[in-house]
């Protein structure tokens, strides 16, 4: 018998790094240097807003490149990256840097500057974890608890562990795997959590578990 799954709630304190970018060169410079937690913040904090403002570009970088610099094609490239396949912030960082490098290598290319007041300000997120008081010892209990755990809990357990921003045992799929339920783990991992609201994600996870529990 493995340990129960403990549902935790993530709260984020937003910090300002005092760095700003007004063009692609500056964006690239800072992207190489900012901490992983900053990249995680800028690529994931909008997932909460996604609940009420769908459809919304899923990361701040794509939004800024599109709106402030007017580079729609590059903005789309940034928003359509296969985030669900990444397993570390280093992979995301490299995925952002590659198109920026290519852009800057273009001879005589257009080099837009953000209008005054529309510079990109780099933020960072400090994570606080609160116990929700909810635990699951069996898939049946998991199915019941996932339906009522706070939405911030779903967000934390789905996104942070898969990118190395939380211990691996905090991952839903990893917990099922450790219990010998590779079937449920596989179905949860197959979901692309970046393409749905968090409430839809909750329902999808619940359904995946229910399919197997019922069977």
């Amino acid at each position: 018998m493995t340990e129960p799954f403990v549902f935790r709630l993530q709260l984020t304190q937003v910090e300002l790094l005092g760095r700003r970018a007004g063009n692609i060169t500056e964006l690239r410079h800072h992207l190489k240097e900012i901490p992983d937690t900053s990249i995680y913040y800028h690529t994931h904090h909008r997932l909460r807003q996604h609940v009420i403002r769908s459809p919304e570009p899923p990361n701040d970088f794509s939004y800024w490149i599109t709106k402030a610099l007017g580079l729609a094609k590059m903005g789309e490239a940034f928003s359509s990256l296969p985030f669900a396949s990444y397993r570390s912030i280093a992979e995301i960082r490299q995925a952002f840097l590659s198109p920026l490098d290519a852009f800057l290598l273009e001879e005589n290319g257009h080099r837009p500057q953000a209008p005054a007041g529309m510079e990109f300000h780099f933020l960072d997120g400090r994570t606080f974890l609160l116990p929700t008081g909810l635990e699951a010892r069996t898939p049946e209990e998991f199915k019941e608890v996932i339906g009522r755990t706070p939405i911030g809990s779903i967000q934390y357990h789905v996104f942070a562990p898969r990118l190395g921003m939380a211990p691996p045992e905090y991952d839903f799929a990893a917990w099922f795997e450790a219990r010998g339920r590779e079937d449920i783990a596989r179905d949860i991992r197959r979901l692309d959590p970046y393409t749905m609201t968090l409430e839809t994600l909750r329902l999808n996870i619940l359904k995946k578990v229910a399919d197997h529990v019922a069977a």
Partner: protein, 406 residues
């Protein structure tokens, strides 16, 4: 005064549970707020509402107000203007007055809290007198730091970096500093007299008292009489609108005890409005929250045509009432308004006039802006979120690290 459970129907019980859990981890700690005015302006308003909620959570929240003479507040007003990018002389004598007044205030502060939370520049120099090994100190900046006057900025920077953390209201206010910088937006209290639901009779009575005709459109700006709120620009925009579209204009607000320029601005506004019976300039005394609430609710369109703005809580107030808002794209206002989604952002008098006409003539679009704005405020700018962010700040002062397990 409202209790935490009163907010559950508005923000959800789970958010209140989070506050209780965070409060339990700071139980008994003394959090000492210090600012420069007990009434008037957003800082005093937030502290008035927040202090009892923190106490209910088990935190010993306190609030001290520093004292100063006219000379001191003239200096701090000049600093305020200079930090907002308005050229202002800042002499060596001004610095002396500033330092001495801060030092003199030590007589009125008998004890220091576990956490000392200093608001805005006026009391910032108190940090020199605090034993930082015993007390965790953070500085809260409520003003627009986008383009501060260099000499004033350098003067303050020395003090700011003596704190453990600085708190700003908008990302654009961040500066290169050697200390942590935390982003915390201010908030409104949906249960305060200024924001609570009002019966129609109360709204009608207030409008009637001020002579407003509720059968005709009402365009309103609520704010202190301050150059940076551009009340004269508002009247000029109104005059452009009035050539083609009928409406009334309300400019209503009070003054803060730390703002010596208010009377001059009020005089200018009255001069600009002279002779127009549809312009209502209302200088409201402290405690006029119901009147302000009623005026916002009676409005067809609400303006906040600020030239500089720390955050602009009047925007959140109007959005919470589902009003279409036209506001200057400065300070923290763009955090509250996404242009053409949850309000309108403008840059000029002409742009403001254009959008007043558009909204008065397209009420369905205006109504949609208001509805979206209300939900945005519910998610991001209510006092419960603000309390949570402050509790996280104090916890983070005690517990370092990127991941804090509570």
């Amino acid at each position: 005064m409202s209790r935490l459970e009163d907010y559950s129907p508005i923000v959800g019980a789970d958010r209140i549970d989070v506050l209780r859990a965070l409060g339990a981890r700071l139980s008994g700690r003394i959090i000492q707020n210090i600012n420069s005015t007990a009434v008037g302006g957003g800082v005093a308003e937030i502290l008035t509402r927040m202090t009892p909620l923190l106490k209910e959570l088990g935190v010993d929240a306190r609030w001290d107000v520093i004292r100063g003479n006219e000379r001191f507040f003239a200096v701090t007003k000049a600093m305020h203007n200079g930090l907002h990018g308005v050229p202002s002389p800042f002499t060596e004598d001004d610095r002396r007055v500033f330092r001495e007044t801060n030092r003199d205030n030590l007589e009125h502060i008998s004890t220091w809290g576990d956490f000392v939370f200093i608001h805005d520049p006026q009391p910032i120099a108190l940090i020199d007198e605090i034993d930082k090994k015993k007390h965790r100190c953070a500085w809260r900046c409520h003003i627009d730091f986008t383009d501060p006057q260099p000499d004033i900025w350098h003067f303050l920077k020395g003090y700011i970096e003596s704190y453990e953390a600085a708190v700003f209201s908008a990302p654009a206010f961040a500066r290169p500093l050697r200390i942590r910088q935390v982003l915390i937006s201010p908030s409104i209290d949906p249960l305060a007299d200024k924001n609570k639901e009002l019966p129609k009779e109360v709204i009608d009575e207030v409008c009637s008292r001020f002579g407003l005709d509720r059968c005709r459109p009402i365009v309103t700006q609520i704010s202190r009489f301050d150059f940076l709120k551009d009340p004269v620009g508002v009247i000029r925009a109104y005059k452009m609108v009035k050539r083609h579209t009928d409406c009334q204009l309300v400019l209503a607000g009070g003054g803060a005890t730390d703002d010596p320029e208010g009377q001059k601005v009020l005089d200018d506004v009255r001069e600009e409005a002279a002779g127009d019976p549809d312009v209502f300039v209302l200088f409201l005394p402290p405690g006029s929250d119901i009147e302000i609430n009623a005026l916002q609710r009676a409005s067809t369109v609400v303006l906040q045509k600020s030239l500089k703005e720390g955050f602009g809580l009047t925007v959140a107030e109007a959005l919470w009432k589902a009003k279409p808002v036209i506001a200057g794209a400065v300070g923290g206002i763009p955090l509250q308004i996404t242009h053409k989604f949850s309000g309108i952002l403008t840059y000029t008098i002409e742009g403001t006039a254009f959008w007043i006409k558009q909204l008065l003539n397209t009420p369905r679009f205006a109504s949609r802006l208001g509805r979206n704005g209300r939900e945005h405020v519910r998610a991001n700018f209510l006092i419960t979120r603000h309390v949570r962010d402050y509790l996280l700040l104090f916890l983070s002062l005690e517990r370092p690290g990127d991941l804090i397990v509570l």
